[in-house]
């Protein structure tokens, strides 16, 4: 049985990779660019020509040159190295913030869509209020209160993204809930927990992945 399941999962994975690569040249180019950036971030110490924080005050604000391909900043630090190292921080913070927001937002959206009633009203009102605060204002003020450091940036950006997940998940669950297979599992007496996480959540994944990838980009911009 386990063997069978393993085969099934690997076949699924193979299938989805094939579908992805079959989507034409553009998606392949995008994939290559993304992998390239992730690689640059991972192997930053081997790629970057200088240490990002080494200052050379005699060589401040230098233009492009063979020594410094992108010039230097106001403290004489190599811009290329700083960008390469910066990719690490950007990718890390936006990925963590995205995961943080997705975990909380998806859970709240699931509960609100499935149970409805007062719980849903409270969750949706809160997320509406959250959406009325402009994103930059929210993130900046939370970051100001939390102070510096990667973890506070991650939480500030992550908290800012939560309502988009809540709204989307709520809508998806509301429409998914009406399907016959949910009624069937209710009739067979499956627990709410099982229905929520085994039937509803996997069916909402395609739209969630789109939102997640879009939010990754937004997270980097923040």
């Amino acid at each position: 049985m386990d063997e069978l399941r393993k085969n099934k999962t690997s076949a699924k994975l193979k299938n989805s990779i094939q579908v992805f690569l079959g989507r034409g040249l553009l998606s392949r180019i995008c994939l290559v660019i993304l992998i390239l950036f992730v690689m640059i971030a991972i192997f930053a110490p081997y790629i970057s020509p200088y240490h990002p924080n080494i200052q050379n005050l005699r060589n401040r604000l230098a233009p492009f040159s063979s020594e410094h391909p992108l010039g230097t900043d106001h403290l004489g630090r190599d811009m290329l190295s700083r960008i390469i190292y910066g990719a690490r921080v950007s990718l890390q913070s936006s990925l963590l913030a995205g995961l943080f927001a997705a975990a909380i937002g998806i859970l709240l959206g699931l509960l609100s869509g499935y149970y409805g009633g007062l719980l849903s009203t409270v969750i949706l009102r809160l997320s509406d209020a959250h959406l009325s605060i402009p994103g930059h204002v929210f993130t900046l003020s939370v970051a100001a209160v939390m102070g510096g450091g990667l973890h506070s940036i991650v939480i500030a950006i992550g908290l800012g993204m939560i309502p988009t997940y809540v709204r989307m998940m709520n809508g998806l669950v509301l429409s998914c809930k009406e399907n016959d297979y949910i009624t069937a599992s209710l009739l067979t007496g499956e627990s709410n927990l099982k229905i929520l996480f085994k039937h509803l959540l996997p069916n909402c994944f395609p739209s969630l992945i789109v939102l997640f990838t879009m939010n990754l980009g937004n997270g980097i911009m923040m």
Partner: protein
Amino acid sequence: MFYYISKKLFVSLITLFIISLFAFSLMHLLPGDPVINVLGEGATDEDIAYWRSYYNLDQPILKQYVLWVRNFIKGDMGVSLMYEEDVSETLARRLPVTLAVGIPICIVSIFFGILFGVITAVKRGTWIDQVLTTMANIGIASPLFWFAIMLILIFGMQLNILPFRGFVAPSENFVEYLKSIALPVAAGSLGFVAVITRQTRSNMLEVLNQDYIRTARANGLSEVSILFTEALKNALIPIITIMGMQIRIIVGGSIIIEQVFSIPGIGSWLIRAITNRDYWIVQACVLVISIVTVFSNLLVDILYGFIDPRIRKKWR
């Protein structure tokens, strides 16, 4: 209609209440005493006690909130500890500046967004469509601050035809005002124009294929009147929804715009307050900016009914 508007107003007030709770709790989420955080460790006990009682920090938390809201409504938003300026006075001076940049951004982007959207829909497949759609995609993808810096570099520093720092009030000199907001408005509206263009284009394409447009053509209506009275009106509904969502992005974007172009509005003030940990300014700014956003969304909701009689029918 009265019922509909009052219902929407009620929902907006609840939203504002939640936002006020958020703005209020911002300062209290922080570990430690906000007054000591601002004044620093070297502050005397008298100073600390004075400011604590000034901001009612010695009261129970619920009473603090009630007092804060009451003072806020009365127009007393406290005093900035760093600069000893009256927060509500400064706000009254800076809010019009933000609006004087933000409202033109809205007008310009709605006008050009709808115009480009209609053009690309009508001329679908031609080179005009290709060029405008590509531009719209670039507009959506490029970051606001980068575009703003590029505008400064090209129009402000290389060509030297437009000012790129500061702001002139329209009451002082209207021509100078227009010049001073030209680059900020161009930068701020780019993304918005792009989003509206794409939305208008797809809606117009959908509407133009409908039967009633063919009927209108068969009845001999002119192409212009078909486009602007028959088709656009029906294509506008989703566009207004997008507009409602974009208002918060415009308001949020104004922070970046004001910072890059050194405009003395609320956004740049908020940034300064955040770096200085001037909580009372942050609280007031968050609340005021959110009030502006909530009420512009309310306006958009009411606007629906004026454009779509079907929604107006539901109002009764």
